[in-house]
């Protein structure tokens, strides 16, 4: 994309704080300052346009059932942790919506991006997004979408299949059942793990998201997920 040279008079304080922050983030200023200024501009325009976003959202047609499922999942995961990666979303689309075609995944991602704000990109092609819960709520309200799962009636679970060996009843069911929150947490942990973060780094990342989880628990999740991959 073409670039243009922008020359503007701005407040001194903001200029130096911004420069310092860019230096802190990229360890350099040259070549990245413009990129960050561009992001700042987009953020401002995005926020200002949000005031009129309700109108724009109203114009949009009601999404398909699978898009609604994606929206609900994004909302629920956003309440658990505000940051999510593109890989986690794509994996969920593949595994839970059964979408395999790249172009279809891309169209689901484009829909999801309406409710995401790009935080940062890593070298491995991983993009971290923050989930815009307010925007999802607004959109759901317009299209009468229930984001929260309706309270489920308690259904007695069937007895696990059992066999009797030498007079002892042994259950054949060995895999433990995960709650949705556990699986979401496991997805986040595995994403970070696969991006090359160590257990302690994952603990720090989760702590930054407001989740206090011990390193041992993180290791247990990684072991369990790796075990499950091979079962």
């Amino acid at each position: 994309m073409g670039k243009v040279r922008m020359c503007v008079w701005i407040d001194e304080d903001i200029y130096y704080s911004f420069k310092e922050w860019v230096m802190k983030k990229h360890k350099k200023v040259q070549g990245v300052m413009g990129e960050e200024v561009g992001r700042a501009i987009l953020l401002l325009m995005n926020l200002e346009s949000q005031e009129n976003s309700e109108e724009a959202l109203l114009k949009a047609t009601k999404p398909r059932k699978k898009y609604i499922e994606l929206l609900k999942w994004l909302y629920n995961i956003g309440k658990l942790s505000p940051i999510i990666t593109n890989k986690a979303i794509e994996r969920w689309i593949r595994e839970h919506l059964g979408v395999m075609s790249k172009s279809t995944i891309h169209s689901y991602m484009s829909f999801a991006k309406t409710f995401l704000w790009e935080e940062r990109r890593t070298k491995g092609g991983l993009i971290e997004y923050s989930i815009l819960l307010d925007k999802i709520e607004k959109y759901a309200k317009i299209h009468n979408i229930e984001l929260e799962e309706p309270a489920r009636t308690t259904v007695k679970e069937p007895e696990p299949s059992k066999v009797t060996i030498r007079g002892f009843e042994v259950s054949l069911e060995t895999t433990s059942k995960k709650t949705p929150n556990q699986s979401a947490l496991a997805e986040i942990v595995m994403d970070l793990y696969q991006s090359g973060y160590s257990a302690s780094e994952i603990v720090n990342k989760l702590e930054a998201l407001g989740l206090n989880i011990s390193a041992n628990r993180v290791l247990n999740i990684i072991r369990r997920e790796l075990r499950n991959e091979f079962v």
Binding site: I14, E36, I41, L43
Partner: protein
């Protein structure tokens, strides 16, 4: 408040959109373009500081 001159290379598309946005808001660019850019940079810094917490 003191002012400094900022020289940066930005995407043409972003620059044009921003110019259009400022013009629509104020009906002019002179004196308000820098004001809006300062606002954008301040907002971005605040958002980044918040997400670090």
């Amino acid at each position: 408040m003191e002012k400094v001159k900022l020289f940066v290379w930005v995407d043409k598309e972003v620059y044009d959109r921003f110019k259009e946005y400022v013009f629509k808001k104020y009906g002019k660019l002179h004196r308000v373009f820098g004001l809006e850019l300062t606002k954008a940079m301040k907002l971005y810094l605040e958002k980044e500081a918040l997400s670090k917490r």
